[in-house]
Amino acid sequence: MLWPKLARALFAKPLTDEAPLLPRETIQALGERLAATSRARLGRSLAIREVDSGSCNGCELEVNALQNVAYDLERFGLRFVASPKHADVLLVTGPACLNMREALERALASTPEPRWVVAVGDCAVDGGVFKGSYAVENGIGAVLPVDLLIPGCPPSPAQLLEGLLSLLEAEAAKK
């Protein structure tokens, strides 16, 4: 049953969506950030380490959905890796929970430069609904140097894809 299905899939139309249109302003802002920090170029492929700093797990559902066949993140040269030591991008969800602070700092210290830090979801941007709690330091900017914010509760896979592809475009535009 499996082999005939796989064979049929080889000749069927792909299930993957078209790539999204990218916001010019975001790419330009990221490009300026790259130029300002005169970072070395990472090229057209980025390895991403996802770190959950205390999300409700809604963001994880949508980040995982990026890897399904409809979005197929890897066709763009973007892939998730198992360790920050292998990563070009730290993609962080959730508010900066105090109980996660040390783990976040260690993850950053393990990520080689040049690198990007992306805050995903309203909580990572500014604490979201958990702003002001005794147990969080609001957005992850309190702990990590953030380069790109992708707001949303949670951001949809399409919004996530737009943000991550903007990083690639900014890298490509840099001389």
């Binding site: 499996l2 770190v51 999300s55 797990n57 949508e62 409809a70 929970c97 109980n99 609904v129």
Partner: protein
């Protein structure tokens, strides 16, 4: 039929909680509770929590499905522990000590749990929290003895795109001798943020207790508020809630089915389930304007209404899911390499599932037949036709099969709900007054239990949202014993407990 524990509880002073009564027990009566519970094994403990002056516990009569609550005043900072009689009490007692500062006397285990020594205060929910600064202490793990035992520490950051938590494996060769979990990394102070707010403001925290269970928790919280205020949401709102609840179950079960197979390195079901689930999520977005249906269930009803073409989109997505389930199941069953990983792996003994009152697929794959959708107050379920699958095998395979069987049931429920969707209002007004209510709503993991107390101004003065994972996490420690380390991801995914849901 009343056992000694039931009699003891019903001998207390009724406090007027709706729809299940809460009885206030004297400290001496509460002190007899552990011994009475030992003599009444069918009295399941669903949760323990506190406020600044009292301890509250919720029990379920396993035979009748009736719940009852018991409370006792805390005297001199102490109350009698229930953990000697109910193992599920352990983590609640640890949590109560940290958040409220009440000591469980005679407790099995009071090591730190949520408080890692990194907050600026101790006992944040006590009447007077104590400021705290200093070095966070090193965690203490239970000792393990034997030849050649070594430890594997994993987390809090894991290798996959999953939530943070620490697992300490003690292994002998390849075999896990003991797993100990250390959670609490995601503690966000959710309860403190809910205190003193109106139910309308607090429901967004219930919706974000565990994002994958946003509908079930929003509904359980709203139902507890509605019980406290004696408000009945309009029939259309209840139907739409059930519709969303079943869609949430469908997208999560599809996700888990794929991921469990993926953790055995069998990618095909993962790819197909992921694609089918994406179709369901897009239909949900078309119908309700949000892929996970966050903030759609509100105290009093739902908002907004289902979109005009929403029903059509949902039915089309579910037809695709239903059409593919038999073929996917056939592939799952026909591959010996996959079956070898699933069958007999991560066995959870039925007596343990009963002892912890485990809900959802964890309990029902190990013979515990409970589903909150069968409770008479959970409208519209009493007028809907559905089966609750129960298996005895208790392994990874059984937990997967429960999910697949529930998928079929949920698809049928969605069709019934869409065919008989009543017309009318979506929201009932909420009066501003005092009250106390409790509710149980069956999420995809099991029953979400919420208790709410409102003051005269209609603001929240007491709250506890209990995710089903509280009673499932400890069982994962038991299920992994004597399995090889490499099978841990499979066992873990077959449970799929929520970290955020229990870290509060």
């Amino acid at each position: 039929m009343m056992g000694p524990a039931s009699e003891l509880i019903c001998g207390g002073y009724p406090q007027g909680t709706q729809p299940y009564e809460r009885f206030l027990l004297s400290p001496s009566a509460w002190g007899q509770l552990p011994a009475a519970l030992m003599q009444e094994p069918a009295m399941a403990l669903l949760g323990i929590w506190a406020d600044s002056a009292q301890i509250h516990a919720c029990f379920l009569h396993e035979s009748s499905g009736e719940a009852v609550l018991a409370s006792t005043p805390v005297t001199g900072g102490y109350y009698a522990a229930l953990s000697p009689a109910r193992p599920g009490a352990v983590r609640f007692e640890r949590m109560i000590l940290e958040l409220w500062g009440h000591h469980a006397e005679g407790a099995v285990d009071l090591r730190p749990w949520l408080d890692h020594g990194r907050w600026p205060l101790r006992h944040p929910l006590a009447a007077k929290p104590i400021p705290f600064s200093g070095e966070p202490p090193q965690p203490e793990f239970l000792p393990v003895e034997g030849d050649g035992i070594h430890q594997i520490p994993v987390g809090p950051i894991h290798a996959g795109v999953i939530e943070p938590g620490h697992f300490r494996f003690s292994v002998q060769g390849e075999v896990v001798v003991r797993l100990e979990q250390r959670l609490g990394y995601k503690h966000k102070g959710t309860l403190s943020l809910m205190f003193g707010t109106s139910p309308r403001a607090a429901v967004r925290y219930a919706a974000r207790l565990s994002g994958d269970t946003t509908v079930a928790h929003s509904w359980a919280f709203s139902a507890a508020v509605e019980a406290a205020l004696d408000v009945a949401p309009p029939p259309r709102a209840l139907h739409l809630r059930a519709l969303m609840l079943e869609l949430e179950r469908i997208h999560n079960h599809l996700n888990d089915w794929g991921f469990i197979c993926n953790d055995a390195a069998f990618a095909f079901p993962h790819a197909r389930c992921g694609f089918l689930r994406e179709g369901v999520l897009r239909a949900i977005a078309a119908a309700f304007g949000h892929r996970l249906m966050m903030d759609r269930v509100l105290p009093g009803g739902v908002a907004p209404d289902i979109a005009p073409r929403g029903a059509e989109a949902i039915l089309a997505a579910l037809d695709a899911v239903e059409a593919e389930i038999p073929a996917l199941m056939q592939i799952y069953e026909a591959h010996a390499s996959l079956q070898d990983r699933m069958v007999t792996t991560g066995f959870l003994r039925p007596e343990l599932a009963r002892g912890f009152a485990a809900g959802g697929h964890v309990g029902r794959a190990s013979g515990r037949d409970f589903d909150a959708r069968r409770l008479p107050q959970n409208h519209p379920y009493p007028v809907l036709a559905f089966d609750v699958p129960v298996l005895e095998a208790g392994d990874v395979d059984a937990r997967l099969r429960i999910r697949v069987a529930e998928l079929g049931q949920s698809i049928a429920l969605v069709r019934q709900l869409l065919t008989n969707l009543p017309a009318g209002e979506l929201m009932a007004p909420l009066p501003v007054r005092a009250g106390e209510g409790v509710a149980m709503i069956e999420g995809f993991r099991g029953e979400c239990l919420h208790w709410v107390r409102l003051d005269d101004g209609g603001l929240i003065r007491g709250i506890f949202p209990r995710d089903p994972s509280w009673l499932q996490w400890p069982l994962l420690e038991a299920a992994i014993e004597d399995n090889i380390v490499a099978d841990f991801p499979l066992c873990n995914k077959s449970f799929n407990c929520s970290y955020s849901g229990v870290d509060l």
